[in-house]
């Protein structure tokens, strides 16, 4: 059958030899029936014979390449080995290892901020009270502290009490811990101070984006001093402070969105790079 097809092909101007089969045949690696078929074909096909000869000559050339004497002995000395047994430095940039985690965290931050942005622009009227004084200050601080000092503080709504202290830090902090609630990180993060606002928590929860019922706040240093009674109540109950941004506070949100999106995209790119270089190993 193959033979007939090949004959037909030759009649119409030759065929491309099956290099894979010819090369394997050269090494005696074709199964017996295939080898027999190929030999029969070779007997009548000049193209394939010539190709086989060419491949054979190439193999001979390679075989005739001279072995090179190593310039020295590669015996390992104890000193080499000791050095090598210290914790192996990860190849290439160690920062890259955190890329996937940073990317994921930044994406979550982005999603939350976007959610807040959307909900506040839609339901902005529900936040009428008391937010104006904070707006300007928050915008300033958020844009100047950028990713390193920016953080989100989620205050969980009643049904999910353990989700109270989620902290997300930017790429400057390589140790992205995923999504585990970690109040330590939250309190220790430099420049990341809660911005309490006297909005009633019920309102805040009602206006939340779906995922975690969380409100994002930009860092606001000025708010460090103890403020309203509402805030102290909240701190007393959950150890956290809830704050929300007013609908006018869009600049800070936009900055956060852009920064979070940029971090997400960059670290995702880094993660892909990492993955690809890993694949290059043969």
């Amino acid at each position: 059958m193959v033979e007939r097809v090949n004959k037909l092909l030759r009649f119409f101007g030759g065929h491309e030899p099956d290099v894979n089969a010819l090369s394997a045949h050269l090494d005696g690696r074709l199964a017996t029936p295939e080898a027999a078929r190929l030999r029969a074909h070779l007997a009548s096909c000049e193209t394939c014979r010539a190709r086989l000869d060419g491949l054979c000559a190439t193999r001979d050339t390679l075989r005739a390449m001279l072995d090179i004497e190593p310039p020295r002995s590669f015996r390992l000395r104890a000193a080499d080995v000791e050095r090598a047994q210290e914790p192996a430095a990860k190849t290439s940039a160690p920062m890259l290892r955190w890329a996937p985690a940073v990317s994921a965290v930044a994406a979550v931050v982005f999603a939350i901020v976007i959610g807040v942005d959307l909900s506040s622009s839609r339901g902005g009227s529900s936040y009428s009270a008391d937010r104006a004084p904070l707006t300007a200050r928050q915008a300033d601080t958020a844009s100047s502290t950028e990713s390193g000092g920016m953080m989100d503080k989620n205050i969980a709504s009643a049904p999910v009490p353990q989700g109270s202290g989620e902290a997300a830090t930017g790429s400057a902090d390589g140790d992205a811990r995923g999504f585990a609630p970690d109040p330590d990180i939250a309190t220790a993060a430099p420049g990341a101070v809660l911005a309490p606002a006297p909005a009633p928590s019920g309102t805040a929860v009602a206006a939340q984006p779906p995922p975690s019922g969380a409100t994002a706040t930009p860092a606001a240093r000025a708010a460090i001093r103890p403020v309203a009674t509402a805030t102290s109540e909240l701190q007393a109950t959950s150890g956290e402070a809830a704050a929300n941004n007013g609908g006018n506070n869009t600049t800070a949100l936009r900055v956060m969105e852009i920064v979070a999106a940029a971090i997400a995209v960059l670290s995702a790119a880094a993660a892909v790079t990492l993955w690809r270089t890993g694949r290059e190993r043969l």
């Binding site: 090369s23 190439t58 390679l62 001279l66 090179i68 015996r75 104890a78 090598a84 192996a88 043969l282």
Partner: protein, 203 residues
């Protein structure tokens, strides 16, 4: 300096290997160095053919043996040589990737670098034959360097180092069928590149 023709460059399974291997698996450095003695020629040659430069091959060989020693516990197979070759080829790929990042070193360089040990090697035969032969070697090496790394590795291991398809498959962690096709495509590209010149050269 120039040794035997490639097909049987190193002893395949020397009697001393199992013993060395057993002791090396327990972290015995002397025993491991016994393995180094047995295999360094093959490893160095593989690296040289993959990288095209003596200095780079030296570094990659050193890295490979260090890495092999450090990871010797991960060796579970029966056959040490393909495992070692795998580590060596990974060392080469690391080096090639480093080059990729700083493209100063061109893989398309027509001739191997200054540090090519072939330049130093110069045994008996007459100067003209020797020059011709060396030129031929350079041409083939340059053509090899233009192959994709996976094909280059397969061709070098098969045609220059005499490994069986199965061993190459083990070293490359792939199937024998894939090895077969990498060898075929590599040979075919070399055939086209070397073409008529090759026919008039050695052979």
């Amino acid at each position: 300096m120039i040794g035997n023709p490639a097909p049987e460059p190193t002893p395949r399974s020397p009697d001393s290997e199992p013993d060395h291997l057993r002791r090396a698996l327990d972290g015995d450095l002397d025993a491991f160095n016994g393995l180094v003695n047995l295999h360094q020629r093959a490893v160095y040659n593989l690296c040289f053919r993959m990288l095209g430069s003596g200095v780079a091959a030296e570094d990659a060989t050193q890295d490979a043996f260090l890495s092999a020693y450090r990871n010797i516990r991960a060796f579970k197979g029966t056959s040490f040589r393909p495992w070692l070759m795998r580590i060596a080829s990974n060392a080469c790929v690391d080096e090639l990737r480093r080059r990729g990042r700083r493209p100063a070193v061109s893989l398309d360089a027509p001739l191997p670098g200054r540090d090519d040990p072939l330049d130093v090697a110069d045994p008996a035969p007459g100067p003209e034959t020797e020059a011709l032969r060396r030129e031929q070697q350079d041409i083939v090496q340059a053509a090899l360097l233009r192959l994709p790394a996976d094909q280059r590795l397969a061709v070098v291991m098969c045609d220059m180092q005499g490994f069986a398809y199965e061993e190459i498959a083990e070293a490359m962690r792939t199937s024998v069928g894939t090895v077969k096709s990498r060898i075929a495509r590599g040979r075919e590209k070399l055939r086209r590149e070397l073409g008529p010149r090759e026919q008039s050269g050695i052979g």
